[in-house]
Amino acid sequence: MQPISYARPASLASAISTLAAGGASTRVLAGGTTLYDLMKLDVEQPERIVDINNLGELAAFDTSGDELVFGALARMSDVSADARLTNEFPALSEALWKAASQQLRNMASLGGNLLQRTRCAYFRHGAPFACNKRSPGSGCAAIEGLNRGHALFGGSDACIATYPGDFAVALVAFDAQIDIAGPDGERTIPLSALHRQPGDNPRHDTILLPEEIIVRIRVPADIVGRASTYHKIRDRESYAFAVVSAAAAVRFEAGVVADARLALGGVATVPWRAREAERSLLGKPLTPETARAAGELAFTDAATRQHDAFKVELGANVVRDALLIASGRF
């Protein structure tokens, strides 16, 4: 049996140094909902596990100020129920509670949720499937395979695995930043810079270094959050990943759109901000027609394959509906 060393450091500094000493085959354990799953599948075979659940300072979250601050260890269920979030950032709350199941949300941490790995079956289920992400150079079984759930945006000839999460999609719409702790202290990056498109090296999902930990997520408490939604269309009404999802927010001035936010989930290799579609709405009233046009624009460059072409039409309507739901909350 593969021995695993397990550490449960009492401080962030200790966690970082344990990670740094451990190297590439070390994994951080937070809620465990992804890591344990992938370990059972032999996709993750860590030699060292650093359990960060003793780092109480990472579990807090504060939504009272000009900036929403979420500790990376805050649980999805706790955050989704936060009253200010529900009222002033419904897209963030909805993205959390429409994910997974209540049991998983009770365990899963926000930081871990950002780092959730793809649900691509060819990635998850090992031999005999070709997968460049799991086994670099073996090929991509999905490109010519059952690719209904794969990416229309941000894919490459090497990988079209979809980023599966919801919360990150909503966060990128609101220009969230993340603070990352490492041996040299903290650094801050936009969340949109965390995930990598696969290119010719699909192995790494993010730019996070092995010795780094996401410590918090920060979101400007912008007024645009109030009229927002996370609209998630899936194959069943709960406990399913998005077929297409859209995080949308709008702010109006004098009856026309002054600010629009739009990000797509379930259809891209990374949380996908649809900036051109956002811009197309500025200065216009939001009507079913303008909303639909924005949706069409958002999917203009979609690279469809055998089993996912329907998502262009579906996606345009998901964006339309999301924008209309959001504007109804203005």
Partner: protein
């Protein structure tokens, strides 16, 4: 004949189950237990050229690795439909052969489950792979006319009149092809075996629908006497046909336990269950249905291609049910079995009837629109008194009553017929659909032993298994009425080969219809034996009161019953672990159970999400024995129908074989949020002929017809005819 309806009693084993005190097969941990895990094949088909066990053997705690090189003394399983005991004739790990991806190729036994799993992943195998065909439509999947398939019980195509001529002459007709993906049962309880030898006696703890088949099948495969095998299966955590015969792991677990001299437990993980157990075969059905201008059917021509394996012919019984949906003027069927490199498909709940109802009831809906007739009216018009295939009467057929009562409960009269004619306030398209379903009213022999004591204990042993359907509750309700005792005083010993009564396969909705008549006969025999004690006890005295008066501590009697047309030979079959069902064709009549389902769908106009806010279903299953568990079973069947129509599909990548979405996160079944209100009702009229208890089956008819009621509602809502299941968003965009 029971003339009164039964009253509702609580589920007798509910407390045991919710508190976790009911002991399921692999809950048993005999002293010295070891744990097994399988290594599974990664190729689609071929043979093992070489195995390197060295890394696996080096894992701490590994005690035994069973490969084809050690199993030479084991006999292969025999397929149940070749008068055997197993879900298929192919036995993994008995030869170097690989018949399908995901089959077991080695069993590792270790002191801990973790060590076994780890070692199983370290066996290195070199394969010789050959081309394979893993799905119904795969290149190389050979279609064999069913009449040419060698089987123990051949099934002929059905010919009633000249259907081709009647069809071509008809003024109104439809011609549709309906396809269904393969589907997989996912009982909460996984397949698994605990095997423990005491000298030359083997005890097996197993969740099985047929303890008898396991006992006699293991004896055959292991080369030991069945007298030396005990199988204990008092509770099953859901069977749904997946556990209705021997599974691959049983003989290997028993073999490993014998080799080791220690008990072995093997629980087959979910992913492996998808790959090495039976499943509902993929089907392609073509229905040509015609009517005269008044809507009376003149002909139905029914062609079905059903998936089977390379090693067995899993027979298609689709046409048998198709022929009984209505009183067609003429009927002709043609069935082909399509051989694929998969495990042998099997009897997943309403194994044929779910698919058949989808095809027939969709075609009827299409024809109703051609005729501009109401979908309920066209069904009522084409109901039939007699069975068109045999000319025999139905023992009972209350499908029209199911339709009428169901329509009233549902509020069918509020439906406007044109597609897209009903809109909700929020803009959702509203659709209302109806369909009927049928399931054969089977029966069989059963033995019973009943024992009454002066202390008030009533203990009854029957040849039937508790699978969650609530048979213990039904038995308690029936015995309590017949002996004038409280249901709580009745203990049923089921699924246990030590009970002395043969444990017949519980499947095909014949569990109650075969065991309850035996229970009634045993109660009657006990009554007679108590009367013979000559105590002159007052009318209505309980067995305990009579025994007290007679000065006896206890009394035990036996009984045996058969279905109509059966005799002692049928008992001989179940006494040796085989099955002996009969029906729906009895010597003088034909028996089916019936369902009518009414479904309302709401479809979001933009995203085309299908939601089902309400279902009304009405059933004719003869006498209802246990209203609470019957209702529960019916609701569960409707939920399954929602899954069957909108969610479930085993996804096969034909380049690899096997099942891609082999877990219950990705193989979608309904969740609570998918289910709205489900109202179920029962005609509850006893069948006057099929058995003394007046009961027909319920467990499967509840599912038959749900899917087409949904797709017919989808058509009504959208004008789009869904001819493939499951229906997903993309089908409506």
């Amino acid at each position: 004949m029971q003339t009164r309806s039964y009253t509702e009693i609580p589920r007798v084993d509910a407390y045991d189950k919710v508190r976790g005190t009911a002991t399921y097969g692999t809950d048993n941990n005999p002293a010295g237990l070891t744990h097994g895990a399988f290594t599974t094949a990664t190729i689609g088909k071929g043979r093992i050229a070489a195995m390197d066990l060295s890394a696996a053997k080096a894992v701490d705690g590994v005690r035994l690795i069973v490969t084809h090189e050690q199993t030479g003394t084991l006999k292969p399983a025999r397929f149940i439909m070749q008068h055997g005991f197993a879900f298929q004739s192919y036995s993994p790990v008995l030869t170097p052969q690989v018949a399908y991806r995901g089959q077991p190729v080695a069993l590792v036994v270790a002191d801990t489950l973790e060590a076994a799993i780890d070692a199983a992943s370290r066996i290195l195998i070199t394969y010789e792979e050959v081309p394979f065909a893993s799905a119904l439509n795969s290149k190389g999947a050979e279609a064999v006319p069913q009449t040419e398939a060698a089987t123990a019980w051949p099934i002929e195509d059905i010919v009633v009149g000249d259907a081709e001529a009647a069809y071509s002459a008809a003024p109104v007709k439809v011609d549709g092809t309906y396809t269904m993906s393969q589907q997989h049962q996912n009982p909460m309880e996984l397949i698994g075996t605990v095997a423990a030898w005491d000298g030359d006696h083997l005890t097996v703890y197993e969740g099985t629908q047929s303890a008898g088949a396991c006992k006699f099948g293991l004896a055959e495969q292991l080369g030991v006497s069945a007298d030396n095998i005990t199988v204990i299966s008092p509770y099953i955590g859901g069977g749904f046909g997946q556990k209705n015969t021997m599974q691959s792991q049983q003989v290997l677990t028993a073999f490993a336990a014998r080799e080791l001299g220690r008990p072995v437990k093997v629980v087959v993980p979910r992913r492996q269950v998808f790959h090495d157990s039976s499943f509902r075969p993929a089907t392609r059905q073509r229905v040509r249905l015609s009517a005269d201008s008044t809507g009376r059917f003149t002909a139905a021509i029914y062609d079905v291609d059903a998936q089977t394996s390379m090693h067995d012919f899993f027979q298609s019984e689709h046409a048998d049910t198709a022929a009984r949906h209505y009183g067609y003027g003429a009927f002709r069927s043609f069935a082909r079995l399509v051989r694929t490199d998969t495990p042998t498909p099997g009897y997943m709940r309403a194994p044929f009837e779910h698919a058949t109802a989808f095809a027939i009831e969709s075609a009827v809906d299409e024809l109703a629109y051609e005729l501009e007739m109401d979908p309920v009216q066209i069904r009522l018009l084409n109901d039939t008194e007699t069975d068109i295939v045999s000319g025999l009467p139905h023992s009972s057929r209350h499908v029209s009553k199911c339709l009428s009562r169901g329509a009233e409960m549902f509020g069918w009269e509020r439906r406007t017929p044109a597609p897209q004619s009903m809109l909700a306030e929020n803009g959702d398209l509203i659709g209302m659909g109806v369909a009927i379903g049928l399931y054969a009213g089977a029966g069989g022999p059963n033995r019973a032993t009943i024992r009454a004591t002066r202390e008030g204990v009533i203990e009854i042993s029957l040849g039937v298994h508790e699978m969650g359907q609530g048979i213990r509750t039904a038995i308690a309700n029936v015995v309590a009425r017949h002996l004038n005792v409280a249901p709580e005083s009745v203990t049923a010993i089921l699924g246990d080969t030590r009970s002395g009564v043969p444990q017949m396969l519980t499947a095909g909705s014949w569990g109650s219809a075969s065991s309850i008549p035996a229970a009634e006969a045993a109660c009657e025999a006990l009554r007679n034996a108590l009367d013979a004690l000559g105590t002159n006890a007052p009318e209505g005295s309980s067995p305990a009161e009579i025994l007290t008066l007679a000065g006896r501590s206890e009394l035990s009697v036996n009984a045996a019953t058969f279905a109509p047309g059966q005799n002692k030979e049928a008992l001989g079959e179940i006494d040796t672990g085989h099955v002996a069902p009969t029906g729906p064709m009895y010597p003088d009549f034909v028996t089916y159970s019936y369902a009518a389902h009414f479904v309302e769908v709401r479809i979001e106009s933009t995203t085309r999400r299908i939601r089902i806010p309400r279902v009304v279903s009405m059933f004719d299953c003869g006498r209802v024995l246990s209203p609470r568990t019957a209702r529960s079973q019916a609701i569960g069947g409707v939920v399954w129908g929602v899954g069957g129509a909108l969610r479930e599909a085993g996804e096969v990548d034909e380049r690899y074989g096997g099942v891609l979405n082999a877990d219950i996160a990705e193989y979608l079944v309904p969740v609570n949020a998918d289910i709205g209100s489900i109202d179920v009702g029962f005609i509850d009229e006893p069948d006057p002929m099929v058995n003394r208890s007046g009961i027909k089956g319920l467990g499967e008819v509840v599912l038959a017809g749900v899917a087409p009621a949904i797709t017919n509602a989808v058509y009504h809502a959208t004008g789009i005819r869904a001819r493939h299941l499951p229906v997903r968003i993309e089908d409506l965009i």
